[in-house]
C-alpha cells in the first residue's frame, strides 16, 4: 500500500505543491493506480512481442536545420538562471 509519507515525498521530488486536504485523496488514487498496474503480472506474455507493439519502423528525419527556440523561452520555466544558463545547486562535493 502507498502511504501518505510516500505521497508527500513524491510531491517534493516532483516539485509539486500539494495542499493538506488533497493528500488523503491522492494516497487513495495512487494506491489504485499501482494495484491496476499489478494486473499486468497476470497477463500471459508468452510469444508476445512487446518490443515493437505498433509495428512501426524507420521513422526518420532528414538532416536539415530548423531554427532553435529563443533562449528566453528555453529558460522560461527554469527555477533559476544565470548568464543564459540553467542554474542548479552544486552536485560536486
Amino acid at each position: 500500500m502507498v502511504t501518505k509519507e510516500e505521497i508527500m515525498k513524491i510531491a517534493i521530488l516532483s516539485k509539486l505543491f500539494v495542499a493538506d486536504d488533497e493528500i488523503d485523496k491522492l494516497t487513495e488514487d495512487m494506491g489504485e493506480i499501482i494495484l491496476f498496474a499489478d494486473t499486468i503480472n497476470n497477463a500471459a506474455d508468452e510469444g508476445s512481442d512487446f518490443d515493437n507493439i505498433n509495428n512501426l519502423s524507420n521513422v526518420l528525419r532528414e538532416d536539415e536545420v530548423v531554427p532553435s527556440l529563443e533562449r528566453e523561452k528555453i529558460l522560461q520555466n527554469a527555477k533559476d538562471s544565470d548568464n543564459g544558463c540553467f542554474l542548479v545547486k552544486n552536485i560536486m562535493k
Partner: protein, 471 residues
Amino acid sequence: MKYELVAGFETHVELATNTKIFCSCTTEFGGEPNTHCCPICIGLPGTLPKLNKKVVEYAIRAGLATNCHIAEISKMDRKNYCYPDLPKAYQISQYDKPLCEHGYIQLSNGRKIRILRIHIEEDAGKLVHRRGDTLVDYNRGGVPLIEIVTEPDFRSVDEAREYVEKLQTIMRYIGVSDCKMQEGSMRCDVNISVRPEGSDVLGTRTEIKNMNSIAFIAKAMEYEYGRQVDLIESGEKVIQETLRYDDVSNTTSSMRGKEDANDYRYFRDPDLVTINVPRSLVEEIKESLPELPEAKKERYINELGLPESDALLLTKYRKIAEYYEKAIEGTKNPKTAANFIIGQIFRTVETESEKEQFNVSVSAENLNELIKLLDDGKIKMNLAKSTLEKMLETGGKATELIDESDMGGLDEATLNDLCKQAVDSNPKAVSDYLAGKEKAVKAMVGFVMKNSRGKADPALAEQTIIKMITG
C-alpha cells in the same frame, strides 16, 4: 614478477551531422549558451524525439570502415541516471541491439583490436561548476555520438596510441567526424587492469574517463599501470572504480564512491520505433566508402614503390592523399612528388587542422606541372627545388617562374666556364681539397649552383671541378 597491461577502449565520436540526433537544432560547436536548444533537446514533457537519418547512415559507415557486422534490426534504449547534464534524467542510447558489432582494427604489429560494438546515442549538456552552484548549457545536449567499444585487447600503451590515431584517421577519411580531441568531438574512456605475465585471467579493472588527448591517454595509462602494480606488489587489492586523470599532477583519482555503483535500468525507449537496416542500404553505403587509409598506404608501398614512412605520412590525412594523387597524375616518378610534399610543402602546414585542410599555396595541378618539367628533362632537380620554394612563396606556376632560357639545363661551355671561375676564386678550397679534405669541393660546387641560378647539374659540376684541380 612482471605484469602485463590489459586495456580496452570506449571512444565517443561526435558525428558531423548538421542537426542533433532527435531534433532539428544545429550541432554547431560553440554558440551562446542554450541557443541551440528546443523543447525536445531540453527534455520538456510531451515532446517526441525523431531519429536523424544521417546518424544511422554515419554509424553504418563507421561500422563498415572498422569491419563490423551491421545489424538488420536495431533499437534505442533509455539509460537512466540523474545528473544535471541530462535534462530528461535519462540518455537515449542503445543497449542490446547496437547498430554495428564484431569488427576490428588491425595494428602495425599485426595484432587485431576487436571492436565489440558501435552504437549511437545523444551527447549530454555542458556543466560549469562554480562555488555552490552549477551552470548548465544544453547546446551540446542531443548532439549525435557513436560509441566504439573494443574488447580488452590492448597489451601496451603504444598499441593504444596507434589505435586512437588509426581510429581518428579512419573516421576523418569516411567523413563522419572531424575527431578534434581538443574540442571534445573525440573522447576516450580506458579500462585498465594488470595481471602476472603469462596469466590468462583478467585482473580487477579501473576505468579512466573522458580523456581528450592522445598524450594524456598514454600518460594516464602508464600511471595507472604503475599504480595497480604497486598495489598488488604491496599485497593490496585494486578496487573496481571510475577514475579521473589529472594531467597537471599526472595522477588518477576516484570519481565516484563504490556505494553508487551504476544501475542504469536500461529499457527500450517507447518514443522511438525500431530501426530496420535493409541490406541494400548497407551495400549502398559500402559502395560509397572511399579507399581507406590502410589500403591506400599498402597501395602506395606496393604499387607506387614508396617507402613505408612516406606512405604513412601521405595517407594520414585524406586531403593530403588526394593532393598527392593529383600531383602524380601522368608523371613518371611518384617518389619525387612524395619528396617535394614531405620535404618542402609540409613545412608550410603546422597545426592539426592545417594538415586536415591542406590548403597550401601550391596547387596540386601546379606541382604536377613542375614534376612533368622534371620528367621531361626540361629542368634539373636543383632548379625544381628552388622553383618549388618560389611557388610556395608566390603561389605562382612553375612555367611562369622559370625563364625559358633556364629550361634544358646548362650547356657544356657555360658549365666549364663557371667551374673555372669557381676554381679561380676559391684558392683555399682548392688547396684544402688537394690536402685531402674532400668536402672542400662542395664550396666550389655551391659557387657554380649559385651563379647558374640552380640550373647546373651539381654532380656534373663536381666532376668537372675535380678534373680541373687534379687534372
